[in-house]
Amino acid sequence: MDRMNLPTSPYCTIGPFFPGEFAEGCGDLTRFAGKQARGRHIRLAGTVVEEGNRPIQNAVVEIWQPDANGIFRHPLDPRSKDADPGFFGWGRARTDAEGRYTFRTVMPGAYPNEAGATRCPHINLMVLAIGLTRRLVTTVFFTEGFDQVSDPVLDCVDDPVRRGRLCAIREEVSNDAGGLPAYRFDIVTRGPAETAFFTD
């Protein structure tokens, strides 16, 4: 077939009026198609702030992750036929006036990548907000002994402090209504404690 080489369409900001309806019910990834997701259910929550630690209201946070066994529900994953039928892998949340977002999901599994290296348990995360003409993309890690792990994406972050900020913090006391273990991942789009973002 013809292989055209078309220029990509320009990205633009979501602006201030992203409809709340589009995020309703999208923050809970622990059920899909009438089934409960396998694995350890967790709460992943945090705040999205800009320079001066000011909360960003009505930002949209989206996530994409493999299931508890490290399998993506996607045809490119050679193991996709074994993907958890109760787990879809995608979610969306909208921040409130304090910049807070919340997901309920499963702890993602590790898996070997194409080069034979291990991808540590991780969740892809993106932020859309007014003032951002493009999305901001990062990756959330969970690994215990985070300092020692090697992951092909995490290893691209040289600065150990910035690297550490990509690890979700286990909260001692769960503030989840359902009592799920809680992990905190705060996103600083700009500022001294800025999150490490990857090429979008």
């Binding site: 078309l6 990509t8 070997p112 003409t133 973002f197």
Partner: protein
């Protein structure tokens, strides 16, 4: 029981390589600038540190597919609040086009979300403080999917212009917001599409933040001759090219 199911913890052997699709970084002159004068939030929200290049593994090359199973798809007619109900005030329009990758291959089954102001320039949104009336017959949002040829279509009303509350001069020209899910995390796409011939297009800070004039045109609908389609509606067309190029096969 949540958290009680057995999980296989052993890591299986290396996976076969995923089919090669290139996701080149966006060409900056064909995209909006990240920092835009007179748009203060672009300076307080964009990261100060450079974005970090990383390899694209299976995780970044996959993304939500069959989103129709997770998100409800609406009727293609959002010109009224309920299907068959009274139509919203304003010019009745059809919006159509194709979603494809950089090779021109159609992206079938892609989910498209749109949101827009009503004909008076007012959104149905708790944060919209513009003193303009809400139209009881217009919800201003919809979710659709592309067909096997990557085509989408919906019926709506033309949105009105509105003032930016934080500015004393900036009026947003009529535009429709699009959010499109390609098959990969790397081609998740969000934008705003403008209407041709609008005087406010000349001063809009966002539209004019695209340096390359040809790229700017890709943010504007093409109008269709009024002789096409039903007599009572205007048709606007916009194709979308999402990032992603299948690698050229090597010569044998």
């Amino acid at each position: 029981m949540p958290g009680q199911s057995p999980i296989e913890h052993s890591i299986p052997p290396a996976l076969p390589a995923a089919p090669e699709v290139d996701y080149e970084p966006y060409l900056e002159n064909t995209q909006l600038a990240r920092y835009i004068d007179h748009y203060p939030r672009s300076f307080t929200r964009n990261p100060s540190q450079p974005l970090i290049r990383r390899p694209l593994t299976l995780s970044e090359r996959t993304g939500p597919v069959e989103l129709q199973r997770r998100l409800s798809i609406d009727s293609e007619d959002i010109s009224s609040k309920v299907p068959g109900g009274p139509r919203a005030m304003g010019q009745y329009i059809a919006v159509t086009g194709r979603v494809m990758d950089e090779n021109g291959a159609p992206l079938a089954g892609a989910v498209i979300e749109i949101w827009q102001a009503n004909s008076a320039g007012k959104y149905v949104h708790e944060l919209d403080r513009h003193q303009a009336p809400i139209d009881p017959n217009f919800a201003g949002l919809g979710r659709f999917e592309t067909d096997a040829e990557g085509q989408y279509k919906f019926l709506s009303i033309k949105p009105g212009a509105y003032p930016v509350m934080e500015s004393d001069w900036w009026w947003r020209p009529p535009h429709i917001h699009f959010s499109i899910f390609g098959p990969s995390w790397m081609n998740r796409y969000v934008t705003q599409i403008f209407f041709p011939g609008e005087p406010l297009n000349e001063t809009d800070l966002l539209l004019n933040a695209v340096q390359d004039p040809e790229a700017r045109e890709r943010l504007i609908f093409e109008s269709t001759p009024t002789t096409v389609g039903a007599v009572n509606l205007l048709i606007f067309r916009r194709d979308f090219v999402l990032r992603g190029k299948r690698a050229t096969p090597e010569l044998e």
